[in-house]
Symmetry: C2
């Protein structure tokens, strides 16, 4: 659309930078915004700036929040002796939706990945160690994906935390609920067989 | 994500207002923006405001443009006696991509649709009549989709323009290039048969 109306091309390129938004979809979205009342672009623009400007990280668990301490850490009813380690706020939100977990979290903001140049120093591991040094934490639950990066991070943390006398666990791997063994991939089936439990 | 970080929910709701962006995708996009450097949200915000603030409509053809007259109408090489009527700038862009059409356009900004409450008065038909009254237009090509709304608009315009001595044509309907008759829908096949041409 460059020759037709330059600012539309610029907007379309911005949409195109978002993950999963292709060139055609980006053009369609940019055109849609253009056809909306002025308030639409203004509200959208404010929401973008506001989210970015107001975001803080909880000084305890590193979760995103608006103040000093997030709503989970600030909740006196949560069990502060159990810390669930997650990759990002997205996994925290997924876990919170189950409504069952009563402990607190620690957000790593990434996983160890030599391929992407992400080392333990790039994660919030020193903040986790600082929390543990205060002496009130009994169990650390590693809720990390069963991927190369998730496994590497889990192993690194287990090696680091177990000598400190902390109980370190990792969420179970196996067949997902409601899945059909016939269609399970080999790696999952192998893992599920190895991790079998006595009934 | 409401309880976690309010401004992220607001941003996510903005993304959710875009066509084809569901709740889950909207959350993912909002979170992505939050994780980018400050410039990302700022550039995005500027692009939104800029596109909306700078958009003008060509005083000749009603196409979107940055100035008084669009790049097509302002091009002295284009044949000003042939006007192609399109629904929106998107169809104009699609036609321009073929690189063959040498005439000019008229953008209706919609199609007649009693179901959606869009009457001829809501479209740029009076602007089209004003152009025609200047006396230089010989042919009006209706490049309108073969849908209920496209048909209604084409019929309305033909009835209005033919008495003025203007040649009114509509783009051909039939089997799309490279398509297989076996898989053509009945309506298209029927139309293609009725519109058959002598070779």
């Amino acid at each position: 659309m460059a020759e037709i109306f330059e600012p539309l091309t610029v907007l379309s390129e911005q949409f195109n930078k978002l993950p999963g938004i292709g060139k055609k979809t980006a053009q369609r979205l940019a055109y849609y915004v253009l056809m909306q009342p002025d308030e639409f672009a203004r509200d959208f623009s404010n929401a973008l700036l506001d989210a970015k400007a107001k975001v803080r990280y909880c000084k305890t668990c590193q979760n995103i929040c608006a103040g000093d301490v997030c709503s989970v850490c600030g909740n006196a009813k949560r069990d502060q002796s159990t810390v669930m380690v997650v990759k990002s706020p997205k996994e925290l939100i997924a876990m919170e939706k189950t409504g069952e977990y009563q402990g607190v979290y620690h957000v790593l903001h990434g996983l160890i990945s030599p391929m992407d140049g992400i080392s333990p120093d790039d994660l919030t591991i020193k903040e986790l160690l600082a929390r543990i040094s205060l002496g009130n934490i009994e169990e650390v639950i590693l809720t990390l994906s069963p991927t190369v990066e998730g496994d590497a991070t889990a192993m690194y943390l287990a090696k680091l935390l177990k000598p400190l006398g902390i109980k370190v666990t990792r969420i179970a791997q196996g067949l997902p609920m409601g899945s059909d063994i016939e269609y399970a991939d080999e790696a999952t089936l192998l893992m599920a067989w190895k991790e079998r439990k006595e009934l």
